[in-house]
């Protein structure tokens, strides 16, 4: 069990609550660190002692098989002690005082807390109150920083860079945390981002985030280097945002024919879980251009990098 070759680091941030406040250097550092951990994932014994003796609390207030198992695997490979809490019926989701929740968590003295919550800002509020490092594993429609980092990692693997790439993100832009984190990251790194989707799913003033907005999928896909499809939910809180899945697929579903508008070497991404036949055809999802399964594998390396870097900041705090 030898330590991976990790780049020289200067990481001081206690928490990773969003991409919005990260610098280009910090993003690059996480991606470079993930490169080193990727190597660990390719060993026959995929475990390093990096976080031995550290306690990581996984708090998932929303069901999430993928993100949660990805974090758990990352924790195991780093030899951390992981503790899992879950359930949408738990106290915090019911509006328990954040002070009480924070006190309860503090009493367990975790080194790191991974949190997924349906309400934007909960990771930030906990980060303000806890001495532990806090990692946002998705807060409502706000941010999902490790997803954006693993997406960037995957793009970089295929394209060798982020700057100058044309990235098109398609779907329910308004209700997606994946979009917000990806926009922040890609714009900071110099990519040209286009968001596309129905007008009823486009958030107000989204162009202020530095993206181009399109309501026409064919136009939006033209000459794209990267196509990122989002999971679409046609109904929210009983309100229908789109008449039918059939009509959605006609307007914004990604097919082979439409993908032809993109560059020949374009890659197709999806954060999962996919609705085949709604936002993406099976032919595209399983096709040569799809890097969807690589995203899953890369998620572990990126999360190992984030856990490792935040644990350094913990030590720095003394």
């Amino acid at each position: 069990m030898s330590e991976p070759a990790i780049p020289e680091v200067t990481w001081t941030r206690k928490d990773l609550v969003g991409i919005a406040d990260l610098s280009v250097e910090e993003i690059e550092l996480i991606l470079d660190t993930a490169d080193s951990f990727q190597e660990v994932s390719q060993r026959s014994i995929k475990k390093v002692p990096t976080l031995r003796g550290k306690t990581v609390l996984n708090l998932f207030f929303e069901p999430s098989t993928r993100t949660r198992s990805s974090f758990e695997l990352a924790e195991k490979r780093l030899s951390a002690d992981a503790l899992n809490f879950s359930g949408s019926g738990s106290a915090l989701s019911k509006g328990e005082s954040l002070i009480d929740t924070a006190r309860n968590l503090e009493a367990m003295a975790p080194d790191l807390v991974i949190i997924r919550h349906q309400h934007p800002g909960v990771p930030h509020m906990l980060a303000q109150r806890l001495e532990s490092g806090v990692i946002n594993a998705g807060d409502g429609a706000h941010e999902h920083p490790t997803q954006a980092l693993l997406d960037a990692f995957t793009i970089r693997q295929h394209k060798g860079r982020l700057a100058g790439l044309a990235v098109t993100i398609v779907g329910d832009i308004e209700h997606s945390r994946v979009v917000r984190s990806n926009i922040h990251l890609l714009v900071k790194m110099g990519a040209q981002v286009t968001v596309a989707g129905p007008r009823t799913m486009m958030p107000a003033a989204v162009e202020k985030l530095g993206v181009r907005v399109s309501y026409d999928l064919d136009e939006a896909l033209t000459d794209a280097d990267v196509v990122m499809m989002l999971r679409v939910q046609l109904e929210r809180h009983g309100q229908s945002l789109f008449p039918s899945t059939r009509e959605y697929f006609q307007l914004f579903g990604l097919t082979q024919a439409r993908l032809a508008q993109a560059k020949d070497d374009a890659i197709v991404m999806h954060p999962g879980p996919m609705n085949r036949g709604v936002e993406i055809s099976s032919a595209v999802a399983d096709g040569k251009t799809s890097v969807i399964l690589e995203q899953v594998a890369n998620g572990v390396a990126v999360r190992m990098a984030v856990l490792y870097l935040l644990s350094l900041a913990q030590q720095g705090d003394g």
Partner: protein, 449 residues
């Protein structure tokens, strides 16, 4: 004023009034700013029997008559906040009539009008009387209850408006909720005319609000929080102005927050519609960006939500050109435990009584946006006129409710020292220049400076 309401009508005395009983008092040496008479001058003021008796450049001392030394201070008609939530009965853990009136006096107000969304709702005489009885026991400021438009705020049937007016309500409103049903609103505008009271609307189309928790715009997009579009307010104001014009009913927009609503009120007034509006200090001083910069602070969560820069600029123009009739705080106490939760689930509303005057003196007058006399108008003469209340003037014969301002006093907002039982303010720690330092009610000092 398009108002059909007569000032100082006999029934509108407000709770908390004391008997002036032959008492005399002199307020000496202050700069009297009374927009109702166009006065801004250093004057002494004689009070007799709880009413203003005389204003003069110099009044001789009268043996046995107490004096208030107002030298270096500004003397104004008692300030009136026509939009507060006193929470009693039903939510005494947030605020009571007593704590709310202490808060009012501490903030320089001599009168408040309190909204009906208590529990039980102030939709019948018994609750009105309960509030007024509590006010009589704690005479730090006057209370003018506002009755519900609809029974139980349910938006279905009219409440007993006439009976409540006889018991002392000065207006009707379902505030906290809008009157969504246009037919009910029309009926209220018609019926309220029998009793010469305005209908105050919390203008918000709840279908357009949906599950929104902050202003819909760049910042709701950045934060991933569901937005409340400005148009949710605008469609209600537009509808209500049509109904007001159609019925000739007196209509007042509570906490108006958007540029478009303001423009519609301005235009309606020009046409002679009996419409008035108020704005709240937080909508003048903060924008939706604060939700982000404060890190999702629930002290930035209220309805209507903090709007964007262009709305703020429009509201300020409305203050300057007279479209806005009053500044009202929408003082909305919530217990710290209720606010100390994630942004999405926290209740809407912030305190205002103890920050309004200093905020307005510092940011609006100090900031060169308003003349002092215009601000005093918006906090006294204007609100008195909107609800047809006594006061708002220091003319001889008027009730001697007076506020003393120190324009030079440096204050730091300290929520822990509030008279209110709650602490939910976004202004905690703000350093401001200018403060209310005392009030007189019926010519008797309430608080010492």
């Amino acid at each position: 004023m398009a108002s059909g309401v007569k000032q100082g009508s006999g029934m509108k005395q407000g709770g908390g009034m004391r008997q002036g009983g032959g008492m005399r008092h002199i307020v000496r040496g202050g700069r009297v700013v009374d927009p109702s008479q166009g006065i801004d001058a250093r004057l002494d003021l004689l009070i007799e029997d709880g009413r203003v008796a005389r204003l003069a450049e110099h009044l001789d001392s009268i043996p046995g008559v107490e004096e208030t030394d107002a030298s270096g201070l500004v003397v104004t008609p008692g300030l009136i906040d026509i939009h507060v939530h006193l929470r009693e009965p039903g939510f005494e853990y947030k605020e009571t009539v007593e704590s709310g009136l202490r808060s009012a006096a501490a903030g320089g107000f001599t009168a408040v009008a309190c909204m009906a969304n208590t529990q039980p709702v102030n939709d019948h005489r018994a609750i009105t009387e309960l509030i007024l009885n509590q006010a009589r026991l704690h005479p730090y400021a006057r209370v003018y209850p506002i009755g519900a438009v609809s029974k139980g705020l349910a938006g279905q049937e009219l409440a007993e408006i006439g009976d409540m007016v006889k018991a002392g309500v000065v207006a009707i409103s379902d505030d906290g909720l809008p009157v969504m049903n246009a037919a009910l609103m029309r009926r209220a505008l018609l019926y309220a005319q029998h009793y010469e009271v305005p209908v105050i609307q919390h203008a918000e189309d709840l279908d357009l609000t949906g599950d929104g928790v902050m202003h819909e715009g760049e910042w709701s997009t950045r934060l991933g929080l569901p937005g409340i579009p400005g148009v949710a307010e605008d469609v209600m104001v537009a509808r209500d102005l049509l109904l007001s014009a159609d019925t000739a009913g007196r209509y007042h927009v509570a906490h108006l927050s958007t540029g478009r609503s303001l423009a519609m009120v301005r235009e309606a007034k020009r046409r002679g519609v009996a419409a008035t509006c108020e704005v709240s200090p937080h909508h003048l001083l903060l924008t939706d960006q604060e939700v982000a910069t404060s890190g999702f602070s629930t002290a930035m969560k209220m309805k209507p939500p903090l709007r964007d820069r262009s709305d703020v600029e429009a509201l300020i123009a409305g203050l300057q050109d007279g479209t806005v009739d009053a500044i009202a705080s929408d003082h909305a106490p919530h217990h710290p435990d209720e606010k100390d939760v994630q942004f999405s689930v926290a209740p809407f509303g912030i305190l205002g009584l103890e920050t309004t005057v200093s905020l307005c003196l510092d940011r609006l007058v100090g900031g060169g946006i308003l003349e002092l006399s215009r601000l005093v108008h918006l906090l006294s003469t204007g609100p008195a006129s909107v609800l047809g209340l006594p006061g708002g003037s220091l003319a001889p014969g008027e009730v001697a409710d007076i506020t003393l301002l120190d324009l030079e006093r440096e204050v730091t907002v300290n929520a822990d020292a509030f008279g209110s039982m709650s602490r939910n303010t976004p202004f905690d720690g703000w350093q401001l220049r200018g403060a209310a330092v005392g009030t007189l009610l019926d010519g008797q000092p309430v608080l010492d400076g």
